[in-house]
């Protein structure tokens, strides 16, 4: 079994899932717009965009700002569930022993079979938001903003893969049956400044946010919301930062998940 087969298997898994579970596919298409409508709708009923700009402290378009936030938040949840949550769902359906005994390391199987699914999912999400962004920002600016969003989601995936593999290793080791990712995901998004900027959080929360890869992905995606052209130096800085975090998280994950796999094989923690 080559890596190409794993990649193809991941892609086919999602395509057949969409084909056979149309309600889940439709709900996947609807969720981003529902979250966006809730925030923008409730925000404009109870407040106004001027107050939003004053609080954020930047000249940004609230619609593109929350499109970027929703897009990255949903993509990040996708990665955390797709890699970290796989251990849990495979344990529930009874396929975890087979994955552990497969020729590739569990981390490799989880990541390589997940990457095509992620790319498919963000492509669907970006296509979904494309008409809205083009209407709000015009054709040229809209395409530019969509490019920034796609770049943020793609680059942001790399550190998040390592980060999520750490969770996978934790779930593998602690034999946890209950769904701890259910509350960990929104907490991570909260500290990353998903819908509320991280720089407005208290000092202690900002310290946590600086260690999370999602913070920089969200910041990168939000440069698309600026009414002026994004500062290229800042964008390059964020990309460099994400590259550095990618190396750190993936290296740590590589070491830790190996230990987790060995422990699971030795103790039968499946």
């Amino acid at each position: 079994m080559g890596l190409k087969t794993l990649f193809k298997a991941g892609l086919m898994l999602d395509l057949y899932f969409f084909k056979n579970n149309r309600a889940a596919f439709i709900s996947m298409l609807l969720w981003p717009y529902l979250v966006l409508s809730l925030i923008l709708g409730m925000g404009t009923i109870f407040g106004n965009p001027e107050s939003f700009k004053a609080k954020v402290g930047m000249e940004v378009d609230p619609i593109v700002y929350f499109v970027a936030s929703t897009f990255v938040a949903l993509s990040s949840i996708d990665v955390m569930w797709g890699v970290g949550g796989q251990i849990l769902s495979q344990r529930w359906i009874g396929t975890l022993p087979y994955t552990l005994l497969a020729p590739y390391r569990t981390s490799v199987t989880l990541v390589v079979s997940y990457v095509p699914r992620y790319l498919l999912s963000i492509s669907i999400n970006i296509l979904e938001f494309a008409p809205l962004i083009v209407i709000v920002s015009g054709a040229y600016q809209g395409v530019l903003k969509l490019g920034v969003l796609f770049l943020a989601a793609t680059i942001g995936m790399f550190p998040l893969l390592g980060f999520s593999a750490l969770f996978a290793s934790l779930l593998l080791t602690i034999r946890e049956e209950s769904n701890i990712l259910g509350w960990l995901n929104p907490i991570i998004l909260l500290f990353s400044g998903a819908f509320y900027p991280a720089y407005l959080l208290p000092y202690w929360a900002r310290l946590i946010s600086q260690a999370l890869p999602t913070t920089y992905t969200i910041e990168l995606a939000r440069t698309a919301a600026l009414l002026s052209s994004p500062d290229l130096a800042h964008v390059t800085f964020l990309i460099g930062l994400l590259a550095g975090i990618t190396v750190v998280y993936n290296f740590v994950a590589y070491l830790v998940i190996g230990a987790g796999e060995r422990k699971a094989m030795r103790e039968g923690a499946i």
Binding site: V35, G43, I45, F46, S51, F66, S178
Partner: protein, 262 residues
């Protein structure tokens, strides 16, 4: 009869205790998600309006919490109940499986109360606003009861439907999410005539009464909302009873189909 009620109560209380980590996980994830969305919404609100807005958002979230927990925790449990073969067991012993399902009020109510108290404490700590101060406690209790009756009936109706055909869980969640959008529209801002029509949408009338009981300057359409809420709650209860009778009759004739939510 009393022994059966005791058995149902004991079953759900014991399960609540045994699944305490899942219970805590559910509360924590709900609270953090709500906080995450609320913080985004509050970015739009000027400082001077923050007090009333936070309160309005809190009570809207409570109404939504009741609707979504009762439909998903009660209706959604039917799949588990069918899959472990308990529907046939209960029918053979002359006990309606729906009576067991109704006992899910215990975990649902516990999740609602604990998560809302948690949100109230967090909002108090963050914005120094006591969201639990209410203008009319009896009206709040009445609106809470009517919202519970409507949601519980809805949960039972979809549980009864799930005995015969599949219910797409993802779609139910979307429907519940769409309701929050409707709940947040202030009825007193709508033109005359349209506001009455708006109140007739399920859940809106009791939720409006909840707003009257908790917020200032919301006492418009009190009698209309009360009348509609009472009629609607009764209609919901009758529909739920009919669904139970019809579904049980159907099961006795055709057997149990292992469907439920998916």
């Amino acid at each position: 009869m009393l022994a059966r009620v005791k058995a149902v109560l004991w079953l759900h209380t014991l399960r609540l205790w045994r699944y305490k980590w899942s219970f805590l996980n559910m509360i924590l994830s709900y609270v953090v998600w709500m906080l995450l969305l609320m913080l985004g919404i509050l970015l739009f609100v000027p400082h001077e309006l923050l007090g009333e807005t936070v309160k309005a958002a809190f009570w809207t979230i409570l109404a939504w919490n009741i609707i979504s927990q009762f439909s998903s925790l009660i209706g959604g449990w039917m799949r588990f109940f069918i899959s472990i073969g308990m529907v046939e067991e209960h029918i053979l012993r002359g006990m309606s499986p729906f009576k067991v399902i109704v006992g899910r009020v215990i975990p649902s109510f516990s999740v609602i109360v604990v998560s809302q108290l948690f949100i109230a404490v967090l909002l108090n700590g963050m914005f120094k606003i006591d969201v639990l101060v209410v203008n009319d406690p009896p009206l709040l209790a009445l609106s809470f009861m009517m919202l519970m009756v409507e949601s519980l009936s809805y949960g039972i109706v979809i549980a009864a439907i799930s005995m015969r055909t599949s219910i797409p869980h993802a779609m139910l969640e979307i429907l519940n999410f769409a309701i929050v959008g409707l709940l947040m529209i202030p009825a007193n801002m709508l033109p005359s005539g349209l506001n009455i029509l708006y109140l007739t949408i399920p859940y809106i009338a009791p939720a409006h009464l909840m707003k009257i009981a908790t917020l200032r300057g919301m006492n418009m359409l009190y009698l209309e909302a009360l009348t509609i809420a009472l009629i609607e709650s009764s209609a919901f209860s009758i529909t739920a009873m009919c669904s139970i009778i019809k579904s049980e009759k159907w099961i006795r004739k055709n057997g149990v189909k292992a469907i439920g939510f998916w």
